[in-house]
């Protein structure tokens, strides 16, 4: 087997404004918690297969050190990893519901354990929401009552789509993790449905407006205009989105009215552009 340069596997994690890097696999170097922003050649790869870059990925011997740590610290380590991975789920090109469910379950289990132990060990101030292009600092914290959470997710993703149609941006709630992690799975899991816009929106309890949408007839190429509405500033764009979605609701599945719907949408676009 071709032995290539063995580079010890490294990972870097962002914590607030500091870059905490690790020289070993499991960041067990407890005495040197924070290293400077070092350049590491092989940062944690994205979700895509790490394909033949010439670096053999292998385990380091640190695993034994992990087992030597006291249990609470082991648990904290796993908790940190879990949160990082859940955050990075949002940024992945191929989000996996299976993976997110497993991570969320692990997280819940650790939290439950921590709570049972009496609560002084709530997770520390969490990492902020990822600095993706669609990050909207004006977004109010997610309210604690459940029914509005899906709406917050919807509105945040609509706003996000104006800014950058290419990025996935279900916004993570700000504020201490201990309150919002419960909502985290909902915001995570709500974003996993593909293509069938009817069921996605129905799940978010907006049946009234959108129940008769059936996008299965539409050719995706027709959406090229609609997917990227002209930049208008946040209020205008979100208004534009509302118009677009409401226009959808007037379209029926009949192919004879499809052309009419598209004409309506063109008309609306003209209005937006002119106003």
């Amino acid at each position: 087997m071709g032995q290539r340069d063995i580079v010890s596997y490294e990972t870097s994690v962002r914590r607030k404004s500091r870059i905490r890097t690790a020289s070993t696999m499991c960041r067990l170097d407890v005495e040197s918690d924070v290293k400077g922003p070092e350049q590491h050649g092989n940062a944690l790869p994205s979700s895509r297969y790490m394909v033949g870059r010439g670096v053999k990925r292998k385990l380091s011997e640190c695993e034994d050190q992990m087992l030597d740590l006291p249990y609470p610290q082991q648990r904290q380590l796993v908790l940190d990893l879990c949160l990082d991975k859940l955050q990075s789920c949002q940024r992945r090109a191929e989000p996996s519901l299976h993976r997110s469910v497993l991570l969320a379950n692990t997280l819940r289990q650790i939290q439950r354990e921590m709570r049972q132990e009496g609560g002084p060990h709530h997770p520390e101030s969490p990492p902020p929401a990822p600095a993706t292009p669609c990050h909207s600092p004006e977004l109010p914290p997610v309210p604690s009552d459940r029914p509005s959470t899906p709406v917050a997710a919807l509105s945040s993703s609509l706003l996000c789509e104006d800014d950058d149609a290419q990025s996935t941006c279900t916004e993570l709630p700000k504020g201490p993790w201990s309150e919002d992690v419960g909502k985290l799975p909902d915001l995570l899991f709500g974003s996993f449905e593909i293509t069938n816009s009817t069921s996605y929106l129905t799940d978010l309890q907006l049946d009234d407006i959108f129940e008769d949408i059936d996008t299965s007839m539409y050719d995706p190429s027709d959406f090229s205009v609609l997917a990227c509405p002209p930049p208008r500033g946040s209020s205008g764009a979100s208004l534009g989105n509302d118009y677009n979605l409401k226009a959808f609701s007037t379209c029926t599945t009949s192919s004879s009215t499809l052309q009419m719907c598209l004409n309506d949408l063109d008309h609306i676009m003209e209005i937006l552009v002119r106003s």
Binding site: M1, G2, Y9, T11, M25, C26, L44, S47, R48, Y49, V51, G52, V55, K56, R57, K58, L59, E61, E63, M66, L67, Q74, R75, L77, V78, L81, K85, S96, L97, H98, R99, V101, L102, A104, N105, T106, Q109, S157, E161, D164, S167, T168, C169, K183, P185, D186, F189, S191, F192, E193, I194, T195, N196, S199, Y200, S216, P220, F223, L226, A227
Partner: protein
């Protein structure tokens, strides 16, 4: 000779062929994502991340010279799926082929189902080795002949031509899955098939594309309460009313479609209680089942979780009848594997033709075979170094700790980039197809 008596230790596995690029710089589109023999074993299909299907055909071996092992050569290549874009979510729908399943052959043509995350397609692969010549109104190059110039009529005749294999999409089954499709399975009734995504299983008729029946739905009303997803599903090989699906929590549910239209209530639940001495933060993650396969005789099913392969008797739900450790030496490394995401790798498993041996993949391009009858197992490697024609594969051994013997490899030297997730076993003979990242290895038993 059929592999009816041969256990993994009676058989000596030899290298036969390797398909795919030799260089180490792997194009992502070439990563093999599924491997499947057809029902006769004559055809071997692979799907890749780029949405292509490549089918190999076994050359008819010279019966008078059994020393010449038959080889698999490219029979057909086609682009099955293209990438799509979900505009609402700003997400790309991958063209990666998740599964290929062959339909039982009914006529001269071959049919297979291939699926990506969202859409299933039925492909017809047919041969053409004759063409018509001697049309009256058409020239050989296709130009039309003016009818007024025709003075005599002739009957067109068939003339042989070079074999041409055509693949054409016959059905497209779309828009039935909101989540990522992980499994398809063809029913023994030869009319229907199922497709499973993370939360739902749908039943289709092979001819009807605009309708499917939802037979399992585990989606909670409130997605916040979601704690379990479907990871694999398969129809029973001879009972057309029975299917199983596995979950991310390590349980398998057997459902009977005669009981009700929506099979949310299982008929049997197969679950093994967790061994408390092995409990860790990662217990749930490693218990997630990545593959489930019925035995050919339909009496057993096999499940693959991260560290082991379990054989279940369909009549006993409380625990598996056999458990085989694939790479137990990884149990102490789970934190590292969690960090580098390897713990989420989904390994498949397969039975041999007479259900006596099972096979699954591991890391470092190792794959493992477990002989159920002889209670023996072997670790083999798919590597370029062992790729000389008819070279016998040497069993490999991983040293878990302590002093490393000669020829053993230590756990810390394993290459976790080189994983064998997909393997397939010929339905009758001892021929196996093992997929590394972008190469397909074919091994056969040694012929004396």
């Amino acid at each position: 000779m059929a592999g009816s008596g041969g256990g993994s230790n009676d058989v000596q596995w030899c290298f036969s062929q390797v398909k795919g690029a030799i260089d180490d710089d792997v194009a992502e589109a070439d990563i093999i994502s599924t491997v499947e023999f057809n029902h006769s074993g004559e055809l071997l299909a692979t799907g890749d991340k780029g949405g292509r299907v490549v089918i190999f055909q076994q050359e008819i071996e010279n019966k008078s010279h059994p020393q010449c092992r038959s080889e698999y050569n490219v029979y057909s290549t086609f682009q099955s799926h293209e990438p799509e874009f979900d505009y609402l979510k700003s997400l790309e729908i991958e063209e990666k082929i998740n599964k290929i399943r062959w339909l039982p052959q009914k006529n001269a043509a071959q049919f297979l189902l291939s699926t990506n995350d969202k859409t299933i397609k039925l492909w017809k692969i047919s041969e053409r080795d004759k063409r018509l010549e001697g049309y009256n109104l058409k020239e050989e190059d296709g130009r039309c002949i003016d009818p007024n110039t025709v003075t005599a009529l002739r009957v067109p005749v068939f003339r042989p031509m070079d074999l041409m294999v055509e693949a054409s999409p016959r059905r497209v089954f779309a828009n039935a899955h909101t989540y990522h499709i992980n499994s398809i399975s063809i029913n023994s009734d030869h009319e229907t098939y199922l497709s499973a995504d993370d939360l739902r299983i749908n039943l289709w008729h092979q001819e009807i594309t605009d309708r499917s029946f939802n037979i399992v739905d585990i989606k909670p009303v409130n997605m916040e309460e979601l704690t379990e997803v479907i990871t694999a599903a398969e129809f029973h090989p001879n009972q057309c009313n029975t299917f199983v699906y596995s979950s991310s929590k390590g349980s398998i549910r057997l459902c009977d479609m005669r009981a009700s239209a929506l099979c949310d209530k299982h008929s049997k639940l197969f679950e093994e209680p967790e061994d408390p001495s092995n409990r860790s933060f990662f217990s749930e993650i490693i218990s997630s089942i990545s593959d489930v396969k019925f035995s050919h005789n339909g009496r057993y099913m096999m499940t693959r979780d991260y560290l082991s392969v379990k054989i279940w008797d369909l009549n006993m739900e409380t625990r598996p009848v056999e458990t085989y450790q694939v790479h137990e030496y990884l149990r102490s490394k789970l934190c590292s594997l969690y960090e580098n995401d390897c713990i989420f790798d989904k390994f498949e498993c397969c039975w041999n033709g007479n259900d006596s041996v099972v096979m699954t993949g591991s890391y470092n391009n190792f794959f493992r075979m477990f002989d159920r009858g002889q209670r023996r197992d072997v670790t083999l490697e798919a590597s370029r170094e062992s790729s000389k024609p008819r070279q016998v594969l040497k069993p490999r051994k991983v040293c878990a700790g302590g002093k490393r013997k000669k020829d053993e490899i230590s756990v810390d030297s394993l290459d976790f980039n080189k994983k064998i997730l997909h393997t397939a076993w010929h339905p009758q003979d001892n021929i196996i197809a093992v997929a590394t990242t972008n190469n397909l290895y074919i091994f056969q038993d040694k012929v004396n």
